[in-house]
Symmetry: C2
Subunit: 134 residues, 2 copies
DNA sequence: ATAGATGCAAAGGGTTTGCACTTGA
DNA sequence: TCAAGTGCAAACCCTTTGCATCTAT
């Protein structure tokens, strides 16, 4: 998956346009704006290849299908809206988690996921708010 | 799923014996010690019913199939060993995460997952150590 | 006795793969 | 040119469901 095909650049462009973790169906829908006949299998192939190539990382939220985002955004965490199920980036980090690590374990990394309501879903639904869209 | 059948108690007993989040195949294997003919579908049905009944909670780790644990252990987090892929409980909590929450979002809950090596996998593999078992 | 529970196998949903066709280099 | 990439459909894996049988009450 190294050639510069229309499909490959369409997939990459989606992530440059939308700055939050996206699932394969979202990527497919957005990339079809550029490549109408695009198939879901090709999306999966490129997502996997781009992760392999270090250009994307996976963002896994409990039980839900994988989402992907561009690498190189520095250390950050995520906020998942319980209503619309979208995932947003969170800049900060709780800091040193070593104190939590039980005896004998070796800490190599961590993840923090916040749950709650995004600005749109926080207000009573109106217009295009609070719809499950993914 | 309310009758006191051998299958139901076998599933529950597994969680009383093993105090870490378990996936359906693990539960099946362990419960078959009590009920040899146990089927995976019955395990799923009981896991779902026990979650519904508030006796179990699901623990979702990125992309992997759901794991389950007994409720009533108080607020805690998890540590996932990158080698053996087992998930362990972590007693502490980083504390107030409000400062991380972006403007306009409303925080309702959070999750923290630590990654690294468990005591067994930290040492060079020997005996039954560091095997992927799940 | 009988509604609820079980096991098996088939069905579902998301992801991957085989294959013939298309296309970038 | 021609190997890499693509789309489609079939295959896969995990989970759920339909159904005939079994069992706790």
């Amino acid at each position: 998956m190294k050639r510069n095909t229309a499909q490959r650049s369409a997939v990459l462009r989606v992530f440059e346009r939308i700055s939050r973790p996206l699932g394969p169906p979202e990527v497919l829908a957005a990339a079809r704006a550029d490549v109408p006949g695009l198939g879901i299998a090709t999306v999966y192939r490129h997502l996997n290849a781009l992760v392999e190539a270090g250009q994307l990382t996976t963002v896994q939220m409990g039980g839900e299908p994988s989402r992907y985002e561009l690498v190189g955004k520095g250390h950050h965490h995520h906020f998942r809206c319980r209503t619309c199920e979208q995932v947003f980036e969170v800049a900060g980090c709780p800091g040193n988690l070593e104190p939590l690590v039980p005896e004998g374990f070796e800490l190599e990394g961590h993840e923090v996921v916040l749950h709650g309501q995004c600005p749109a879903c926080r207000k009573p639904p109106a217009g295009r708010r609070g719809r499950k869209s993914r």
